[in-house]
Amino acid sequence: MALNWFKYSSPASFYPLAGRLAPWFGVAAALLTLTGLYLGFFVAPTDYKQGEAYRIIFIHVPAAWMSMFIYLVMAFYAGLGLVFNTRLSAFMARALAPTGALFTFISLWTGALWGKPMWGAWWVWDARLTSELILLFLYLGFISLQAAIEDPRRAARASGLLALIGAVNVPIIYFSVQWWNTLHQGASISMSQGSAMAATMLTAMLVMTLAFWMYTIAVVLTRVRCEILERERHSEWVAEVASRETR
C-alpha cells in the first residue's frame, strides 16, 4: 500500500481510514466465500481416496494458515509496540488476537471432524495437533493477560512479550510434519514440489484462504476502531466523532 505510514500510524487519522476500508473488505470476503464454496462443492472432483469427506479441506487448511499467519502479524505489531512505543501497534495486536483464536479453534474443530472418519480418532497427541493446540493457548493467554492487567500500557508490554516469545511455536507447527513422524499428513503445497492436489481443489482452497483474509481484515479493522475509541475517549477528536456518528 502506498500510504503515508507516519500519518496513518496516528490513531486519529487511522480511525477514519479503517472505517472507509472495512466495508470493502467485508464485501470482498462475502464474494470470495461464495466463489470458494461453489468451486469447493460443485467444481472440485470427489477425492479418489477420501470420498466427499476431503471437502473439509476448503476450510480446514485456510483456517490453519490464518491461525499461524495472524499470530505472526500480531507478534509483529506487538514487537513494534514494544520497540517504538507506538500506540496503534498495541491496538492492532489486541484487535487481531480474538480472530486468530477463532481460526485456531476452527482448524482444530474441523481437524477433529476430519480425523474421526479418516484416522478413527477425534484427537491424537501428534506434533502437528499438539502444537496447534498450544497456539490456541497462546492466543487465550495473550487475551487474558491483557484483561488481567489494569494499566493498559503495562498490559500491552507484558502481553507483547508473551506474543513475541510464543512466535517460536509457529515454525514448530509448520514444520512439525517434517520434523516428527506425525499421523497428520504433510503439507498440501510446498515450495519445492508444488501442489499435491488437483488444480480445481487447489483453486477452491486458495480462494477460501483469500476469503478468510478479507474477512479477517474487515473484522480486525472494525475492532481496532473500537479499541481506538475506547482508549482515546477523553480526546477532543473522539468527542467530535461521537457527536457526529451517534446522532
Partner: protein, 66 residues
C-alpha cells in the same frame, strides 16, 4: 447429482456439514459481537460527549452549538 445425494456427502454428511456449520456460526457470532461492541461504545461516548461538547437540538431538530 440429486439434492439428497449432495447433502449426504457420500455418507460423511455429519463431518462435512458439522465443519462448515460451526465455522459459519462462529464467524457470524464474531461479526455480531464486533458490531454490537461498536454500537454500545458509540452510544456511551455519545452520552458522555454529546452533553459535554455542547451539541444541542432545538425544537425543530436543528443542531446549535453552545
Amino acid at each position: 447429482m440429486s439434492l439428497t445425494e449432495f447433502f449426504s456427502m457420500g455418507g460423511y454428511a455429519f463431518y462435512v456439514w458439522g465443519s462448515y456449520a460451526v465455522t459459519a456460526l462462529l464467524m457470524l457470532i464474531e461479526v455480531i459481537l464486533v458490531v454490537r461492541r461498536r454500537r454500545t461504545l458509540l452510544d456511551r461516548l455519545g452520552r458522555i460527549h454529546g452533553a459535554a461538547h455542547g451539541a444541542w437540538r432545538d425544537g425543530a431538530g436543528n443542531e446549535t452549538q453552545t
